[in-house]
C-alpha cells in the first residue's frame, strides 16, 4: 500500500469538515430516532428478548444490532452517492488523476473514507448510547474496531455498484434488493431463531449477520463465539468486493 491515497482522503476530510453540522445530523439523528422509537416503543410491547439463554431488554438487543446497521448505512451511502458525485458528476477523480496519483490510489482513498464516515457515525452513536444509559460496558471499546471493519466491508461492496452505475437511480436496486432485505434478515430487529430453517441458512450467508454476531455479545457484556468464522466471512466479502470494484472501476476509466 502506498501513501498516495492520503492526500485524496484528506481532500474528502476537508470538504466534510465544512459540512460537519448537517452531516452530523444526518448520520446520527436518524439512527438514534430508530433506536428511540423502536427501542422504547416496541420495547414496551416486547419487554425482554431471549438471547443465548439470557433475558435482554429489547432496547439493548436492538441497539447492539442497529449500530451494525448504522455502520453499514453510513459506509454505503458515502461509497455510493458521494463517491459517485466525485467520480462522475464533479469529475474530481479525473482532476486528481492528472496529478501523480493512480486510479487504485483514488479508489483506496474513497474506500477508507467511507469506512471512516462509518466509524465517525458509530462513535457518536456509542457515545449517546452510553450517555442515555442504554449500554455501559467497557467491552464497547472492542466493538469499535470491529465496526470499523464492518464499515470497510460495506464500503468495498458499495464501490462495486458505484463502478457499474450510470446514474444515481441505479443505487435503488442495491438498496431495495440487497440492503433492505439484509437489514431484516440479519438479526438486527429480532433473533434469527424465529426464522424458518431455509431463511436462517440464507441469513448466515449475509455479511451483516456476522457483524451482528460479533458485536451483540459485547454489548451484553459477554464474549462472541466463532469469532474467527465471523471475521473471516466479513474479510472475504471485503476482499472479493474490493477486487471486483477495482477491476470494474479500471474498466470504466479505460474508455
Amino acid at each position: 500500500m502506498h501513501l498516495r491515497f492520503w492526500p485524496v482522503f484528506l481532500r474528502n476530510l476537508l470538504v466534510w469538515r465544512k459540512l460537519l453540522l448537517p452531516s452530523l445530523i444526518a448520520n446520527i439523528a436518524e439512527p438514534l430516532m430508530w433506536l428511540v422509537a423502536f427501542g422504547y416503543g416496541m420495547g414496551a410491547l416486547v419487554g425482554h428478548v431471549s438471547f443465548e439463554g439470557q433475558h435482554v431488554p429489547y432496547i439493548l438487543f436492538l441497539a447492539s444490532g442497529s449500530i451494525c446497521m448504522s455502520a453499514m448505512n453510513a459506509a454505503t451511502f458515502e461509497a455510493l452517492y458521494s463517491a459517485f458525485s466525485r467520480m462522475h458528476v464533479q469529475k474530481t477523480w479525473d482532476g486528481i488523476m492528472n496529478a501523480p496519483v493512480r486510479l487504485d490510489d483514488v479508489l483506496l482513498a474513497e474506500m477508507l473514507w467511507a469506512a471512516f464516515k462509518a466509524l465517525f457515525t458509530i462513535t457518536a452513536i456509542l457515545v449517546v448510547m452510553t450517555l442515555l444509559g442504554i449500554c455501559q460496558t467497557w467491552k464497547l471499546l472492542l466493538a469499535w474496531p470491529i465496526l470499523l471493519g464492518v464499515g470497510i466491508t460495506f464500503s468495498c461492496m458499495a464501490l462495486v455498484f458505484n463502478a457499474l452505475a450510470k446514474g444515481y437511480d441505479f443505487f435503488t436496486y442495491y438498496f431495495t434488493l440487497f440492503l433492505t432485505p439484509m437489514m431484516f434478515l440479519s438479526g438486527v430487529f429480532f433473533p434469527l431463531d424465529t426464522l424458518p430453517d431455509a431463511l436462517k441458512l440464507f441469513a448466515w450467508c449475509l455479511p451483516l449477520t456476522h457483524a451482528v454476531a460479533l458485536v451483540r455479545p459485547l454489548f451484553l457484556d459477554q464474549w462472541p463465539h466463532w469469532v474467527g468464522v465471523h471475521a473471516a466471512v466479513l474479510t472475504l466479502y471485503a476482499m472479493v468486493s474490493w477486487k471486483i470494484a477495482l477491476s470494474l472501476t479500471q474498466r470504466r476509466f479505460r474508455k
Binding site: 498516495r4 492526500p7 485524496v8 484528506l10 481532500r11 476537508l14 470538504v15 465544512k18 459540512l19 464533479q90 469529475k91 474530481t92 479525473d94 482532476g95 486528481i96 488523476m97 492528472n98 496529478a99 501523480p100 496519483v101 493512480r102 476509466f253 479505460r254 474508455k255
Partner: protein, 311 residues
C-alpha cells in the same frame, strides 16, 4: 539527439471497429507550442488521453521527458501540467483551497504550496477571488483557475485540451496572454483547439489530424503557403440574378485557381485577386470580401466542409 519533450510514435487505437487513431507519430520540442487541430472525432482527445496514460494505445509508444508511458506514469505526471476539456475544480473549495489541495496530490509540502499560491492566483488574475468558490466564478475565471492549478508543481510541459472553448473574446485574449507568458518562461505546450486564430497566434507548429491520421504538419504560415493560394475573395450570392452555383460556372471561375461553394457563399482562391476584383465590378448586386488566406481556409481545405456532428 533532439530535446524532444514528448514523442509519440505509431499510436493506434480502435473503438469497436472504428479506427480512432491511426499510426499517429509526432514530437514536441522543448520550449515550443504544438497545436493539434482537427474536426470533431478526428482523434484529438484520444491522442491527448494516450499522452497522459489514461488510454492505452494498441500499438505505438508515448515518451515524455525521455521516460516511458505507462511504466513511468507517476514520474512523468509529477512534471506535467494538465488542463482537460472539462473543468474538474472542487466546487466545495475556494480558489485558494483548490490550489492547496491539488498541490498535495504532487506530494508537495503544505508550506511550499502556500508559498506558491499567491503568485499563481495573481497569474490567473484571481487575487481578489481567492476566497470565492468555483461556482461564483465566470467561465473565464474557472478556466484560469484550472490553468493555475495545473501550474502548482511548476511543470516543464503543459497539456491543454481546448483551453478556451466556451469563453468570450475578452476571456480568450487574457488566456492567450497568459499562455504566451508561459512560453516566454520556457515552458512547452501541447494544445488542442478548434479556434484557428488561437492556433495561429500561439502555436509554433501545427499538427492537422483527421480520421486519426496526420494530414499535415508544420509552421502555420508555411502550411498556408504550401497548401493555399495567397488570396481569397468571398462572394455572397443568393440573389435571384446570381445564385451561388451560377457564379461558380460564370466567367469569374476562370480568374481563380480554385473555387469552393458553401451555402450562398462562393470562395475564390487565387494568387492575385486584381483581375477577379475588377471583373466583380460588373456584378453590382453582389457583396464581396477580399482577404488573405488563413488557417481556417487551410483547415477546411484539408478536412472538408461537411459537418461532423455524428462524431
Amino acid at each position: 539527439m533532439s530535446t524532444a519533450q514528448l514523442v509519440c510514435s505509431g499510436l493506434t487505437k480502435h473503438y469497436g471497429d472504428q479506427m480512432v487513431v491511426d499510426h499517429l507519430s509526432f514530437e514536441l520540442r522543448a520550449g515550443e507550442c504544438l497545436g493539434v487541430i482537427g474536426p470533431n472525432g478526428a482523434g484529438k482527445t484520444t491522442t491527448f488521453r494516450m499522452c497522459l496514460g489514461l488510454t492505452t494505445p494498441e500499438s505505438g509508444s508515448v515518451e515524455v521527458f525521455g521516460l516511458h508511458m505507462p511504466q513511468d506514469l507517476l514520474s512523468i505526471k509529477s512534471r506535467l501540467g494538465v488542463v482537460s476539456q472539462f473543468d474538474s475544480l472542487d466546487p466545495d473549495f475556494s480558489c485558494e483551497e483548490n490550489l492547496l489541495v491539488y498541490g498535495r496530490y504532487f506530494g508537495m509540502r503544505s508550506a511550499d504550496i502556500r508559498a506558491r499560491v499567491p503568485g499563481l492566483l495573481e497569474f490567473a488574475s484571481l487575487t481578489q477571488k481567492a476566497k470565492a468558490k468555483p461556482g461564483e466564478l465566470s467561465g473565464g475565471m474557472r478556466r484560469r483557475l484550472s490553468l493555475a492549478r495545473a501550474l502548482i508543481n511548476d511543470p516543464a510541459l503543459l497539456l491543454l485540451d481546448e483551453p478556451t472553448t466556451g469563453l468570450d473574446p475578452q476571456a480568450r485574449h487574457l488566456m492567450w496572454e497568459r499562455l504566451q507568458q508561459l512560453l516566454q518562461q520556457g515552458k512547452s505546450i501541447l494544445l488542442t483547439t478548434h479556434f484557428m486564430d488561437e492556433a495561429e497566434r500561439l502555436c509554433d507548429r501545427l499538427l492537422v489530424i483527421d480520421h486519426g491520421r496526420k494530414i499535415a504538419e508544420g509552421k502555420p504560415r508555411d502550411l498556408i503557403e504550401k497548401y493555399l493560394e495567397s488570396d481569397v475573395v468571398e462572394v455572397y450570392g443568393g440573389s435571384a440574378q446570381h445564385s451561388a452555383i451560377g457564379l461558380t460556372n460564370s466567367p469569374l471561375r476562370q480568374l481563380a485557381q480554385r473555387v469552393e461553394c458553401s451555402g450562398d457563399t462562393v470562395f475564390f482562391y487565387t494568387q492575385s485577386a486584381q483581375a477577379l476584383l475588377q471583373a466583380l465590378l460588373d456584378y453590382p448586386g453582389l457583396r464581396s470580401l477580399h482577404r488573405p488566406a488563413n488557417l481556417e481556409d487551410l483547415f477546411l481545405k484539408l478536412t472538408g466542409r461537411q459537418i461532423r456532428e455524428g462524431a
